[in-house]
């Protein structure tokens, strides 16, 4: 502080003496004035201090926080999906989206902007494999934000950014599906969501298990240097680490899945089928080894995929099974002891049930078939005669025990339970329909599950597709096992398997309906099926469109695999048995199933 030097007083003049006695001349007065002024200033400052520190403290702190503190999201890595051997079916990688601001380039480059942008578009297209012309068009528009590429690897992205400083990167997690269409119907797809700023499962398992796969994003509340993501050291106030998503291991065998998908697509294409599904189950555990539709999509190209190929029809779309369902009648009859495989039935060409007449698929007079023959030749009349002996209640019980009309709980989205008319609503003719597989519907999975019970000595294990999940802590948690259901006695199941081998028998005069399913060196048990579809125009059963089915197991006596196949409206005369043969033959080779040298005994189907 600078003080003014005291004014020189006139010599000889005492403090009390003077011409004027203005109070301003009095130093004490001036001192007091200064004191008062200072005190007032201090008071004002003090008051302001109190106001700032107490009254406005909250809002000011909040404002300051807002200015510098930012909530930084730490993204959690999405879990991977693997097959039963650990082959990766879906995993996540770091990738970059390249964005730019064409308007800014116009401003910076002036006249050279158009040429510069074209060069940029060409370079980006060359790196990412995009469409250069489309990129040029996008860049030519007068916009402030253009996404040039969505999933670029970090290395090439950095190179591009160094070449063109106007390109900015946005970090994105990219989902990789290295196997392309393999098992895409099961896995589904996850794509980047701009709103959530993370990968979101859109369909399939990626969608239904999204919470498990996604993990939990972490966050960090810290001060950042203005306008950038740089955290000021030591300013982290609150932090929560990200929890990575769990890895999901499926029961699918990717090699088998690939083969089944290819064989099914090939066969469906050749037979002109509208669609088709196939499933392979492990006999002992009920695990799904393969589950395929004839169409599949590439999850990496979800947006451009044909919407019809996105579903998982083997699980979501039920159909009427046809003769495949005849095993229910046979199982119930054997279980109740009302029939034996070598019982001989005099089967007429048609039978009347309530108000309906049901015929066999081929016209014949009264023929004498064994019970095995009724099943192997797929006689409707013989089956209904046996069903009459079984009775509605026992048939309905067996149907329920085999899991028809109930969801399997496989763990895939959109599973259908199929439809079985409730027991109370059965009319007289209903029981003329159900034993031959019309008037009720089931999915391919349920159909295969039914045969799995027969293959597994009568114990049905509902199919499962997830083996285990591995949490972020690395602990592998096996999936909850399905509750086994005893559907029939061991003896019944064994007898039924022997009866089913007759279906693939081709002995002269004693041939079954599916000899094409036979695999040389193995005994195969299975059942062909044909069910009429409902014509949407007439509301009645169509005479030209059928569901062609096959369900079987290999090897017949000690089965290891259960296969279910359904083809929707293939050309007339198509049987699914050759496709079963292809799949079964591949399974036998691949898993080196021991060959049976002794030929299977010929069973008597028809007594001439």
């Amino acid at each position: 502080m600078v003080y003014a030097p005291p004014r020189p007083r006139p010599r000889g003049q005492g403090p009390r003496g003077g011409r004027r006695r203005s109070p301003a001349d009095d130093p004490r007065f001036r001192l007091r004035l200064a004191w008062v002024a200072l005190a007032a200033l201090l008071l004002v400052s003090g008051a302001k201090l109190v106001v700032v520190q107490t009254v406005q403290a909250g809002s000011l702190t909040a404002d300051a926080e807002k200015q510098r503190a930012s909530r930084i999201v730490i993204p959690a890595e999405r879990g991977s999906i693997t097959d039963r051997d650990g082959t990766v079916l879906a995993f996540s990688t770091e990738s970059k989206a390249l964005v730019t601001n064409p308007r800014l380039i116009n401003k910076i480059k002036g006249d050279a902007a158009a040429d510069y942008k074209n060069r940029m578009a060409d370079a980006v297209a060359a790196t990412t494999g995009g469409d250069a012309a489309e990129l040029r068009r996008a860049l030519a528009s007068d916009r402030g934000y253009v996404v040039m590429a969505t999933a670029v690897d970090p290395g090439p992205a950095r190179a591009l950014r160094e070449q063109f400083p106007e390109i900015a990167e946005e970090g994105r997690e990219a989902r990789q599906y290295p196997n392309g269409t393999l098992a895409s119907n099961i896995i589904g797809a996850a794509t980047w969501s701009a709103d959530a700023q993370k990968l979101i499962g859109r369909i399939g398992l990626e969608s239904s298990d999204d919470a498990l796969l996604a993990g939990r994003d972490g966050f960090q509340i810290a001060d950042t240097a203005e306008g950038s993501g740089t955290v000021i050291p030591g300013s982290v106030r609150s932090e929560q680490a990200a929890v990575s998503g769990s890895d999901v291991q499926l029961t699918i065998d990717s090699d088998l899945q690939f083969q089944v998908q290819r064989m099914l697509a090939d066969f469906a294409g050749r037979s002109g089928a509208r669609s088709g599904s196939a499933v392979v189950l492990d006999r002992a555990s009920g695990e799904v080894l393969a589950l395929a539709d004839n169409t599949s999509f590439d999850p990496a190209q979800l947006l451009s995929a044909d919407p019809n190929s996105l579903g998982n029809k083997g699980v979501t779309t039920p159909f009427e099974p046809g003769s495949v369902n005849k095993v229910v009648t046979m199982a119930a009859a054997l279980e109740a002891g009302v029939a034996k495989p070598d019982d001989v039935l005099s089967v007429p060409g048609s039978i009347e049930v309530a108000d309906r007449t049901i015929k066999d698929a081929w016209s014949h007079g009264v023929d004498r078939y064994t019970l095995t023959g009724v099943l192997a030749k797929s006689s409707n009349v013989g089956t209904l005669m046996t069903a009459q002996k079984v009775g509605e209640d026992r048939f309905s019980d067996m149907l329920a025990k085999l899991g028809i009309g109930q969801k399997t709980g496989i763990g895939l989205p959109g599973e259908s339970a199929g439809r079985v008319p409730p027991r109370a609503t059965w009319s007289g003719s209903t029981f003329g329909n159900l034993p031959i597989g019309q008037g009720l519907s089931m999915t391919v999975l349920q159909m295969a599950g039914m045969y799995q019970a027969i293959a597994n000595d009568g114990v049905r294990i509902p199919p499962r597709i997830v083996t285990a999940t591995t949490g972020p802590d690395g602990v592998r948690v096996p999936a909850e096992a399905a509750e086994p259901v005893r559907a029939m006695s061991e003896q019944t199941a064994r007898t039924l398997r022997t009866m089913l081998t007759a279906v693939t028998q081709s002995a002269r005069g004693q041939a079954g309906t599916g000899p094409a399913a036979a695999v040389p060196g193995y005994e195969v048990a299975g059942k062909t099926g044909t069910a009429q579809q409902v014509d949407p125009n007439t509301g009645a059963y169509s005479r030209s469109q059928y569901w062609i089915t096959f369900a079987g197991m290999l090897p017949a006596q000690d089965p290891r695999f259960v296969v279910g196949i359904m083809l929707d409206a293939p050309r007339g005369g198509t049987s699914a048995a050759p496709l079963f043969h292809d799949i079964a033959s591949y399974l036998a080779q691949r898993d080196a199933v021991p060959v049976q040298t002794a030929p299977a005994p010929v069973q008597t189907l028809q007594i001439k």
Partner: protein, 218 residues
């Protein structure tokens, strides 16, 4: 009391006569030369002693300060150098992570069944449908199971999608509600589809010849 009084400048006369009698006054002239030196020496000694003590202290503080400064400089330099090393290491980690991710991606694509099948086919390999097998019995005899035949290249795969003519509604065909569709004249049975053909052949279903299958191709 005849002691001559020598007035010392600044001293008021007659103030200390009694003391002088008790102890001879210390007059500089009377003091021996050694005496003065002794006093000076003593003073110097004490001062020197004081000075050495202070110098030591200053030295210690200086040494401390300098060493502290050097340590600070050295530490900050080391920290700066380490931060460069850290940054370089981080960059290397990032680059290696990128590389491992890229390789992982490449490997997983290359070992996918589809890509393996394609490359096997490109090398002229053919999928076998029904191989003949040699079964060695315990007694050493060998039996041939199946018909040995040369493997042939599979026909080009049919398109995965159904032919264009089929209705697109196949995507989600509504399941016929079973109860409503019970047509009294409904027929089940396998051969219903193949009724004319299969009737004579004891229900034997023929495999679709490859020739007709071509209709669906392309």
């Amino acid at each position: 009391m005849s002691t001559p009084v020598i007035e010392r400048p600044g001293s008021t006369p007659g103030t200390r006569p009694t003391r002088r009698t008790a102890a001879p006054p210390r007059i500089p002239a009377q003091r021996g030369p050694g005496d003065a030196r002794r006093v000076a020496d003593a003073r110097r000694r004490t001062a020197a002693r004081d000075n050495t003590g202070r110098a030591k202290f200053v030295l210690v503080v200086m040494v401390l300060l300098v060493s502290g400064l050097v340590a600070t400089l050295w530490l900050s330099t080391a920290a700066a150098a380490d931060s460069y090393a850290l940054q370089a290491a981080r960059q290397r980690t990032a680059a290696l992570t990128e590389q491992s991710e890229a390789l992982r991606k490449e490997v997983s694509v290359l070992q996918s069944p589809g890509s393996l099948a394609d490359r096997a086919a490109a090398q002229g390999m053919v999928t076998v449908t029904d191989p003949a097998r040699l079964v060695v019995a315990p007694d050493g005899s060998v039996a041939v199971v199946g018909e040995p035949s040369a493997a042939v290249a599979a026909a080009p795969p049919a398109p995965a999608a159904p032919p264009a003519g089929t209705p697109a509604a196949a995507g989600a065909p509504a399941a016929p509600t079973a109860g409503d569709t019970a047509d009294p004249r409904a027929e089940g049975g396998d051969a219903a589809a193949a009724a004319p053909a299969a009737g004579a052949a004891e229900g034997t279903e023929q495999e679709v010849p490859a020739g007709t299958g071509a209709a669906g191709g392309n």
